[in-house]
């Protein structure tokens, strides 16, 4: 184990994959300058301009070219800079990449990775703070992963690169500089397998991405012993682990940074309720952002932010609710 930042872990993992497979390459804006979070630092020097491709501000072309390159047998890592800019390349992601294998009856596959760091970071306001993971879980053909720790940043990136499916990797912008323990030799993390962060019988708490440290903290502070899961993958997601836990605890709390309405928490709740029947549960709650854009001003932005204190309250509500 080595202690390193999220960005450093991700950078190292990509470098290792690029050394392992000469057909892995990356494309996106400012990559030769190391990317905006330093997650590509030094890679242009090692791998040259044909494998670390600095592109124009052309999101449609970045995404579409990545697909074409995958169809011709290379393994592109498509960098979107931030998830919000994926909105400029949604046709390419949703109507092309996600559907190409199916539409063409399996003749071609989009074995590629789309990286889209997401969420609030340094008061970036409405156009630079969105969390859109729920959208992508709704799209057949896509695998969706959202690391919450440096180790998973590395392990999920490796898994994404080696996957023959198109994998959307949503890194939490706010955690690039966060540090954590990372194995010397990072192995790919199995897609669809949650990481259990804490154990306890009082409730099942599910989260991912930037909320992982927030929920860990909140769960500790609450003094309530809960099963806490970092989903890591949102599609496929670890239904088995969550359902098994919820069956035991009878109480489910889902916490995410995204807007609550139609967020992925709705899917988790609906799925667990369907699986166990409403009678199998005693309390259910989603904790996410209000249905409002993210404002700029710090105190206003705070109103949208997930905090350990909010998690503490929600855990206590869920653990004590009677029906």
């Amino acid at each position: 184990m080595t202690r390193m930042s999220f960005a450093e872990a991700a950078r190292t993992a990509l470098a290792e994959e690029m050394r392992r497979d000469p057909l892995v390459w990356a494309l996106g804006e400012d990559l030769a300058q190391g990317g905006i979070f330093g997650q590509y630092k030094g890679l242009a020097e090692e791998f040259g301009p044909d494998r670390i491709v600095s592109t124009p501000i052309s999101e449609s072309a970045i995404m579409g070219a990545g697909l074409g390159a995958a169809l011709c047998g290379t393994r592109p890592v498509i960098e979107m800079r931030i998830a919000d800019f994926t909105l400029c390349a949604m046709d390419e992601l949703v109507s092309q990449i996600a559907k190409v294998r199916y539409m063409f009856g399996g003749q071609g596959r989009a074995a590629l990775v789309v990286r889209m760091p997401q969420g609030m970071w340094r008061n970036s306001a409405a156009q630079h703070s969105q969390c859109l993971e729920a959208w992508l879980t709704h799209i057949p053909g896509l695998v969706v992963a959202a690391p919450g720790t440096p180790a998973d940043a590395a392990g999920l990136l490796k898994a994404a690169i080696r996957s023959d499916d198109p994998v959307v990797l949503m890194e939490p912008k706010n955690l690039w500089t966060a540090e954590g323990e990372v194995p010397e030799a990072v192995e790919p993390v199995a897609l669809g397998v949650a990481r259990q962060v804490a154990q306890g019988d009082a409730a099942t708490v599910v989260t991912w991405s930037a909320c992982v440290p927030v929920v860990e903290q909140g769960a500790r502070d609450s003094g309530v012993a809960c099963d806490v899961f970092d989903l890591r993958s949102l599609w496929p997601w670890d239904e088995a682990a969550v359902i098994a836990s919820a069956r035991r605890t009878g109480r489910l709390l889902v916490v995410h940074e995204a807007v609550t309405v139609s967020g992925f928490g709705a899917e988790v709740v609906a799925r667990v309720v369907e699986a166990l029947g409403p009678g199998g549960l005693r309390a259910v709650e989603r904790l996410g952002a209000p249905r409002a854009p993210v404002p700029f001003s710090p105190p206003l932005e705070d109103a949208m932010r997930m905090t350990p204190a909010r998690v503490v309250q929600a855990i206590r509500r869920v653990a004590s609710a009677r029906h």
Partner: protein, 377 residues
């Protein structure tokens, strides 16, 4: 308007080289030249016959969904693809039957696909708007106008990266990393990508992004704008400002040339030159081919938005009759030409009959090939 580039002057490998019946060599001798032109005629006749069947099948309700016929435009598809090899790739459009057939796609499988049957090019899951035949480098029709342009750019980038990897003697890696069906000879070093799109696509953002991208990275892409004058039900000149597709391409650094797309031999000649340049390393080239869409936007659109005389005049300029006339002048007997057309009609009629007789796909196919991880239950 073709940009001149020193490197492009050096003669590239001769065209042809795939399935010889598809892409005959042109070697200068009169009889070879005639054979090549006969092969072109055959493919043009096959495309037209295919689409006559396709339109009839759509009108009768036998082919579900929508068919966009390219009848009248066959000279562009064939004139371009006559200069491509198996290892070359193409991207296509919603109006893509001609591109596919000209590139050597399996017409029977295509007809089955149109009918949604098992054995179709995409197992019945794509239909007319999503025909693909990766085995011959046909990377797919596309239901989104202009969407093939960035895809073609990336395909060309991959071809180049793989060449670099091979030359770095890391080819051993390829075996494991290779997942898609690929055309024979996919590893030819000077493979290129031909990217077809309509005149309507030049008003979409990806057109600009793709032109800049291809020019910037000097990619081996031949852009082919099939300018049939219409974008769906709207005359495209009514919604397009400025000097047109070629001027826009050149503004982004892609040298462009215009050609009469109803003259298959002219298309062939210009495409030969452009493809040679691209194989020689000159970077992307742009071919603006004027043509006319004889039929409506779809097989059931009566095209009431344009004067009947205009369409009639286009029919008089028929690219197939023009090529046939050139062959007659070169001494080919009328019977031979008629036989080719009859054979094409017969082939496609039999494909249609086969399609009608073919079974529906296995119901489980609806749930296969979505994805490996998290596939639908």
């Amino acid at each position: 308007m073709v940009g001149s580039d020193d490197r492009s002057a050096q003669a590239a490998a001769p065209p042809g080289g795939g399935d010889p019946s598809r892409s005959p060599h042109r070697q200068g001798s009169a009889s070879n030249e005639t054979a090549r032109r006969l092969a072109m005629l055959r493919d043009m006749a096959r495309i037209r016959a295919f689409e006559h069947e396709a339109v009839a099948a759509m009108r009768s309700g036998q082919a579900p969904g929508v068919v966009h016929p390219s009848i009248g435009q066959e000279g562009v598809a064939v004139g371009v693809c006559a200069n491509l090899r198996r290892a070359d790739r193409i991207t296509s459009t919603h109006r893509g039957h001609g591109h596919a057939i000209a590139k050597g796609a399996d017409a029977r499988a295509m007809m089955l696909e149109l009918h949604g049957r098992a054995g179709g090019s995409c197992g019945g899951k794509g239909g007319s708007m999503h025909i693909a035949d990766f085995a011959v480098g046909m990377l797919g029709a596309n239901g989104v106008v202009g969407a093939g342009i960035p895809i073609a750019c990336g395909a060309a980038q991959a071809i180049r990266l793989r060449r670099a990897v091979r030359s770095a003697e890391a080819a051993a890696r390829l075996a494991g990393g290779q997942r898609n069906r690929e055309p024979a000879g996919a590893e030819e070093d000077d493979a290129i990508v031909a990217c077809f799109f309509g005149d309507g696509a030049v008003n979409r953002g990806p057109f600009l992004e793709g032109m800049n991208w291809a020019a910037l990275y000097r990619l081996p892409v031949l852009f082919v704008c099939e300018d049939n004058g219409f974008a769906a039900f709207t005359r495209n000149s009514a919604v397009t400002a400025g000097g047109g597709p070629a001027v826009r391409a050149e503004a982004c650094g892609v040298p462009a040339i215009a050609v009469d797309g109803e003259d298959a031999l002219a298309v062939d000649a210009v495409a030969a030159e452009l493809v040679a340049r691209i194989r020689g390393g000159a970077g992307p080239q742009f071919l603006h081919a004027r043509c006319y869409r004889w039929e409506g936007h779809t097989g059931t659109d009566a095209a009431a938005y344009r004067p009947a005389e205009e369409a009639a005049a286009a029919r008089d300029r028929d690219c197939i009759r023009r090529l046939a006339a050139a062959l007659a002048t070169a001494g080919v007997a009328a019977e031979e030409i008629a036989a080719i057309e009859a054979e094409a009609a017969e082939e496609m009629a039999s494909h249609r009959a086969a399609a009608m007789a073919a079974p529906w796909p296995d119901p489980g196919a609806a749930f296969s090939d979505v994805q490996d991880a998290g596939a639908p239950a």
